[in-house]
Symmetry: C2
Subunit: 336 residues, 2 copies
């Protein structure tokens, strides 16, 4: 036997938040590598809201995780053995693998960390990974932002939101962030230079008026990571020809019943707005350009980036819940 | 006194379908024209689903009709008296006036029928009016259609839908129409050359499968006039990068409770689709071009156009209900 390792797999589809009856741990044994395979020792894996969506049996941009399969997730780690022509033991690699100590891979969607890398390895799961690239292409392309526009960012203290807001500030936009604690709001104002912030918890029930006050010229772009009540309030404040970047809908991922679209759906027509479903994978061919630009901005100290690393394979599910109760700030990862 | 005439006015906001307790008739007296005013004897006025929306007190692309005001509507008629420099008695004019025998106007949004007009006067409320231009710019611009694309048209036997479908056929698209009776479906196939049709009433509960069968290559553009169940079924069948032209939502206009957006809202993200709120008024500067193109297509017999004219001012509300119970085919107008 080559190796034994632990992995989280989908035992049953969650109804509501994920429990340890839904996602269980098992030990996997690998006896030998086939031609074209390689074995990665994962250093970190990613905890993302999207993973909760993949646990449901609904059509989406990726197939649902099959019952019995490992929980799909980005990882970064070291190749420990390889029968794949493009990878050798010792290479640092990142890509779509799973919540597991080791990953058996055929190289598909796997990328090498550059040899001259100066950044912590886990940056390849965050600012240079899907999260950073989502913010980058969402703001720089999909949103069709120009200097002077007002950007309203939901989940603004989150990984995508905090980066996206800073990128828009760098472009000369009026940037308003929504977050769920005063501490997060303070961070957005004091450290990231947002123009205004809204605590959507204390302003609940009054969201539309709060947005109106923070966006005196209306909302040109609403960057939606959350859906639900905040999306509805945003729609009441959009300008004519506004863009809504539909990037996520975290408020609905744990729902056990079908959740309808926004009640203020009519405003999309009334304002001749555009809702753009946004998948970072559509920008795959420009990933290197995007990551390069982000590295440059980091080096020049023009963007800041928060992350939280939870230590210990066994803490994965507890850490995963932090994404949905608002208790994390920035990109959440697990150190294996 | 110059004139006495009857008009429909908004007495109270309807809850559900419009009744004669909501919209009442009164007699108006005009004593004299002020400088800049003119008086139009209306020959026809327009009955449109959008008018029901204007009766609600919700923010939209036009302000709600104020309680006590005439019901807003397009009309076409003859100038009978004028103190406006641009209009003279005898001119034929069309524009946004109201459900009334005569209209007092200041010329705002009023256009003259061309002197060399060869078409029936009521064409200026239909194929050369908002309906025809909506189909024209919706299909030729907003939808971003190209030859070979599949277009799914809701309310396809309606005024906008039937024209829009023919325009897309002329462009070389695979055009699938949804309508509510077999007669309408037959008309779309036999007379208008649609590639496939779906009777959404007999297929209710099975809509998504019916769309899948009629659109073997998926849906590239869904032209939404109806919202509700049909929109939800369409969203389950869109291709990646599909466009949804959001032109109307007639299934929800008579609702007395807030109606949510589509339950399959997530598919917009999953397919990186674009929802485009569509207002024909955004194309105002190209109206003449559009009407000219439509006149040319009519002359060359490349489009057909159905309309229904109900005779008699007193029949307005009865006629208006036909829009919502599916009993009209084509553009509905009232002959005063």
């Amino acid at each position: 036997m080559l190796i034994q390792y632990k992995q989280y797999y989908l035992h049953q589809r969650p109804k509501g938040p994920t429990t340890d009856s839904d996602v269980k741990v098992r030990t996997v044994e690998v006896y030998s590598l086939a031609e074209g395979q390689l074995l990665i020792k994962n250093e970190y894996f990613s905890l993302d809201p999207a993973i909760r969506g993949w646990m449901d049996d609904v059509p989406s941009y990726m197939p649902p995780i099959v019952l019995g399969d490992v929980i799909r997730s980005s990882t970064v780690g070291t190749v420990v053995d390889s029968k794949h022509p493009d990878f050798s033991a010792g290479d640092m690699v990142y890509g779509l693998n799973g919540w597991e100590e080791y990953s058996l891979s055929d190289g598909y969607f796997l990328t090498k960390v550059p040899q001259d890398n100066q950044f912590p390895l886990h940056y390849y799961l965050s600012v240079f990974g899907a999260v950073g690239l989502t913010a980058y292409f969402g703001i720089h392309d999909t949103a069709e932002l120009k200097a002077g526009d007002t950007l309203l960012m939901s989940a603004a203290a989150g990984a995508v939101g905090s980066l996206g807001g800073q990128l828009a500030k760098n472009m000369g936009c009026h940037v308003v962030g929504m977050a769920g604690t005063d501490d997060k709001c303070q961070w957005l104002m004091d450290d990231l230079g947002f123009d205004a912030v809204i605590n959507y918890k204390t302003e609940s029930g009054n969201l539309s008026a709060a947005i109106a006050a923070a966006c005196p010229d209306g909302v040109d772009v609403y960057f939606d990571n959350v859906g639900g009540e905040i999306l509805d309030a945003a729609l009441l404040n959009i300008n004519s020809n506004a863009r809504i970047v539909f990037c996520g809908s975290i408020s609905t991922y744990n729902a056990s019943e079908p959740v309808p679209g926004p009640y203020n759906w009519w405003q999309v027509l009334a304002k001749s707005a555009v809702v753009k479903g946004f998948l970072v994978s559509n920008y795959f061919e420009q990933f290197e350009t995007g990551a390069g630009a982000l590295a440059q901005l980091l080096t020049e100290d023009k963007i800041q980036f928060k992350y939280e690393i939870v230590d210990g394979f066994d803490n994965t599910l507890t850490a995963f819940h932090k994404l949905f109760d608002g208790s994390n700030t920035g990109k959440l990862m697990l150190k294996v």
